[in-house]
Amino acid sequence: MSLPVRVSEHPLNRHIYVVELEDGSSKLATLNMVPGKRVYGEKLYNIAGNEYREWVPYRSKLAAAILRGIRSVPLREGDKVLYLGAAAGTTVSHVSDVVGKSGRVYGVEFAPRVMRDFLLVVRDRSNVLPIFADARKPWEYAHLLELVDVLYVDVAQPEQASLTADNAHHFLKPGGKLFFAIKARSIDVTQEPTEVYKREIDTLKRGGFEIIDVVHLEPYDKDHAMVLAEYRG
């Protein structure tokens, strides 16, 4: 393994880092909130007394979107994030690193199996809160939440866009941002969206979102795209 030589802030976000390695390659990383702990077998880099966690684009769609040149990464220190489809907490852990100790990440997940793994991530990270619920029914967990600054959706559901609009209507602040990971079967997302895909974006627009950017996640994730949008309410 080659050693890290230099670390710099990513141009899009002060809390996302680029670690340059001895062999000339560079890796996306976040400052590890829980030094010494890995979440999914990622590498840890120590530079100048800080520990950084490699952010693997093949495992996290947000990392893939950043590497594929998404226009901005509107996650600030102290932000409250509602994350639908937390799964085992891979991406959640990096979002948790980015928003820091004063931020909060509410992770909603409905599959018992992965919820177990997610609870392990929650145990180590004081800014992550678990919600074992069905993201299609936001009113069933409304009593557990507050308004949030950012909504992150990665649920791979047929009615993904409408449940996103529903959740935004319950929990997203006006002007809040949306990250929307979408499965787009082998299509060019910027020029020739298929009907399914167009429908999803239209649903988002009707739900009060203004689309900021769409990036294709090839080669990290086949047939996936990340939509970045702002909530107009």
Binding site: R104, Y106, P112, R113, M115, R116, D117, L119, L120, V122, R123, S126, V128, L129, P130, I131, F132, P138, W139, E140, A142, H143, L144, L145, E146, L147, D166, H169, H170, F171, K173
Partner: protein, 412 residues
Amino acid sequence: MGKLFLLHHVVGTFLLDERGEIVKGFLAVKDIDENVEQNLKLESGSDELPASLSRVFEELSADSTYVVETEQLARLLSRRGAAGVEVDRGAEPFRRFRERVADIAVELGFVRSREEYYEYMRAFLTELARRKLRAAARRRDLLAAQSIRAIDDLDKTFNLFATRLREWYGVHFPELDEHIPKHEQYIELVYELGHRENFTIEKLERLGVPRSKAEKIAEAARNSIGADLSDFDIEPIKVMAEIALTMYNLRQRLADYVEAVMREVAPNVTALVGGLLGARLISLAGSLEDLAKLPASTIQVLGAEKALFRALRTGTKPPKHGVIFQYPEIHRSPRWQRGKIARALAGKLSIAAKVDAFTGRLVGEKLVEDLKKRIEEIKRLYPKPPLKKEVAGPLPPKKEKEKKRETRRPRR
């Protein structure tokens, strides 16, 4: 009195006006266990309501319209005689409340600071998720137990059908019996081919019989001493064969199903002994929780009750293992190591079942590793049968041994 927005939250239950200002409110019980319990009951539709909610219900006025976010609250309100009830999810007053909920909790004295609010919510949500997870698992362990019993039923029935078919079809083609020892293959051949005239080398090969064997069977079919049967007589045999094959396929599917359910319900037990054996243990104990409450010594002999109680009654040797005998490391090992391995495995199983039933953490890998180490140790320390030990060590009290034998002999 106009519209009032009724909102139930972890920190309490509140009536809000159209601007989202609190008109009236009651704080929830602070104790996390109790608060989680009350919210779980509300969710499950129990008649017992969270304290703060029932206090709000006591103060309903007849001339107000109440707006809520869930059908459930709407139902509860109408049942208590509220005249106007509306459901308006994500209405502005609710959003206003949620925007400031951390500050409200501090202002009303539920918590002392925003930090404490978040600490409280995190502990609350973790506990809530954990309990729901446990409830979800507890129900499904019974499914695993039932399907393993169904598998056992299928095995028994399949064997019964297979023996019957061998005898029945044997009237027509008795020589096939000794050539095909595997039940499912025998039945498949009978179902696919029917009359023994159809047992040709090509057809047999197409059904997966190796060339040399196919030759022998075809030869036997030509010279068979069995009775000639008409289509009318073969038909019922084929129907029965078809049903037996369906049962066989169902068994495979159930086995996959049990594996999948067990991985969710009891991941640690499954990591140790696999889904089928794990489900069998749950089935014998009654449920996952019952299994978790058993001591390791009982788990070790689950399924060998007959031998155990005979041992207790007559003073013969107790069984070394129950169904955990199916664990490969036990039945593959030499006789004198089996008891020790069974004891080690039962110990780990006992831990795994407790973790699965009560916390849901994942410790399976560590347990498997520890068990492997212990098994290696056993193999290293006891490579030979224990006869030698008797010679080397102090002589065992002879009398007792004699006695034991005496009690056993008359039974023979």
